[in-house]
């Protein structure tokens, strides 16, 4: 068995592991897309009616048609607003199924809930077909909705909490440090670019997921003996804690879209041959430095700490006054 595997192992060893992984990921992506298409074709035969709302096709029953149509139209409008009018330029969406011939719509069900579900699955399709590299950079998570003010505050906290080399400089306004923290512009040695060696043993302790026997031994050696080569073998770019997590990356994409207007996604998806920073800059319609500056500035602009803002103070006092008045006007003793 080992003899059979040896030529494979040799050829794999000779290649850049990251490149091999990327090729395997791309193959997996295309296999998953093919499987989704096959499944959607098979399911199409089971449903009696198909609703078409813009580019969305929803296989459903005649009874559920009006509900599915309303949801589909709402989802489509939202998708066009997010991704631009030529969102279907790269092929049709797979057919989505909703209910079956026996299903009924609950009396209080809202079309908006279904619309959000349809929008999410269509958005995943759009990202995986037209922006797969950016999607991978976002940890495979499609941005849904708008990142809130409080989430932006959490990104700022994460930036100062994680002991990564570029984080504090990024928070202080250094654009290149933000690019490194976001994983846009990192050198060949990601681990060294992100973290000082004295943080590696504890980072190794944070590695989750399945580790094989050798990796577990290496992790122990890293954590207990501070063996940096063992740490390196564990802390691969895929496993190491990123200086800024998925939400921070999604927020950069959100800012790029806000800056770029209606055709931002089209520009992001237009040229897949260029680097991530060029694609984000193209989407935003501004240089990447400007976009990163905006990202950093908006993080610094969020007020933090538990100091009650004036409206919270007024609201609390107003409610207390109202409730006290009600209590004083109670009927006891009358």
């Amino acid at each position: 068995m080992l003899a059979l595997l040896a030529p494979w192992g040799g050829s794999l060893h000779a290649q850049e592991p990251a490149a091999v992984l990327q090729r395997m990921e791309e193959r997996l992506d295309s296999m998953q897309l093919a499987r989704a298409l096959r499944d959607s074709l098979a399911l199409r035969a089971k449903y009696s009616d198909t609703v078409v709302a813009g580019g969305l096709r929803i296989a459903t029953s005649a009874r559920l048609r009006p509900f599915a149509l309303a949801a589909g139209e709402e989802a489509w409008q939202s998708l066009v607003a997010r991704f631009g009018p030529s969102v279907t330029a790269h092929g049709a969406f797979p057919v989505t199924t909703f209910g079956s011939t026996r299903s009924t719509v609950p009396k209080l069900a809202k079309a908006g809930d279904l619309a959000r579900g349809l929008e999410r699955s269509a958005a995943l399709w759009i990202w995986s077909t037209q922006g797969a590299a950016v999607l991978r950079w976002m940890g495979g998570t499609v941005p849904t909705g708008t990142i809130s003010h409080s989430d932006v505050g959490d990104i700022a906290e994460e930036l100062l909490r994680t002991p990564a080399r570029p984080n504090r400089a990024c928070y202080s306004g250094e654009t290149m440090a933000c690019a490194a923290a976001l994983g846009i512009h990192v050198g060949a040695d990601t681990l060294d670019a992100w973290f000082e060696p004295d943080t590696w043993p504890r980072l190794a302790g944070m590695v989750s997921g399945e580790l094989n026997g050798l990796e577990r031994v290496a992790r122990e050696r890293c954590m207990n003996a501070g063996d940096l080569s063992a740490c390196r073998s564990i802390l691969t770019p895929a496993r190491v804690l990123p200086p800024v997590g998925v939400v921070g990356r999604q927020y950069l994409v959100q800012l790029a879209f806000e800056s770029g207007g209606a055709s931002a996604f089209e520009r992001l998806a237009a040229d897949t041959g260029v680097t991530l920073e060029h694609r984000l800059a193209a989407a935003a319609g501004v240089p990447i430095d400007t976009l990163l500056n905006r990202w950093g500035a908006s993080l610094r602009a969020v007020p933090r700490g538990p100091a009650a803002p004036p409206q919270e103070l007024l609201l609390g006092l107003a409610w207390s006054g109202l409730l006290l008045t009600m209590a004083l006007r109670g009927s006891r003793w009358r």
């Binding site: 504090r168 004295d198 943080t199 538990p306 919270e312 609390g316 409610w319 006290l324 003793w333």
Partner: protein, 217 residues
């Protein structure tokens, strides 16, 4: 007269007051006890994680204080069937305001203890650059949360037995409606709606959902 009522309130809730004041001293000190040297690269990580973990203790403390003080405000009258209150030559509104004020005064005392404790706790800890301590902010938020909860509980505990039964019946009806809605797959949860209304962004208890970080960015 206020002093007499304050004394009666203190007598009723002194045990709870001592425990709550002790907790107000302990929580900030314990939350920052593991803080390492500023030179440690993980100092911010440890500090913010510990602060976030202990953050839930402040609203719980505010709620517990509100509950103890509201109960202490009404218990002497409930026990004596309001005879003492009815014999006093003051209007009902004035009497209730005095009772409410006495509880509020004790809430201020716990908040003052918390303020001192948070200041001491944050002075003892060397803060990494770009992180800040918010002893004043957390005390104000504690006071505001305690005030809202105390007012609600003061109102609820002052209800007549008939009104209290009515409130309990409405609550049971909502729970029942939630069960029926769930069984009938109506896609609607009245209990969830009530909780959302109570904790929504403009509700009296919204402050309990806020961030309670003694150390923050």
């Amino acid at each position: 007269m206020f002093r007499a009522i304050l004394w009666s309130q203190w007598r009723e809730s002194r045990l709870a007051m001592v425990v709550l004041a002790g907790m107000a001293v302990a929580v900030p000190l314990l939350s920052l006890r593991g803080a390492g040297a500023v030179t440690d690269p993980w100092a911010s990580w440890d500090l913010l994680r510990a602060t976030a973990r202990w953050g839930a203790a402040y609203p719980v403390l505010a709620l517990a204080a509100a509950l103890a003080l509201a109960a202490g405000a009404w218990w002497p009258d409930h026990r004596t069937k309001h005879v003492y209150a009815l014999t006093l030559p003051v209007s009902r509104v004035r009497y209730l305001l005095l009772r409410y004020g006495a509880g509020l005064t004790l809430l201020f005392v716990i908040a003052a203890v918390l303020a001192v404790s948070t200041v001491v706790a944050t002075i003892r800890v060397p803060l990494p650059t770009l992180l800040h301590a918010y002893p004043g902010g957390i005390t104000v938020r504690f006071l505001l949360a305690g005030l809202s909860a105390y007012t609600i509980l003061f109102g609820l505990m002052g209800l007549t037995p008939r009104m209290a039964r009515l409130v309990a019946a409405v609550f049971l009806l909502v729970v029942l409606a939630a069960l029926v809605a769930d069984l009938a797959s109506l896609g609607w949860n009245p209990l969830g709606s009530v909780v959302d209304a109570l904790l929504g962004p403009y509700s009296p208890l919204a402050i309990f959902r806020a961030r309670w970080m003694l150390i923050d960015v």
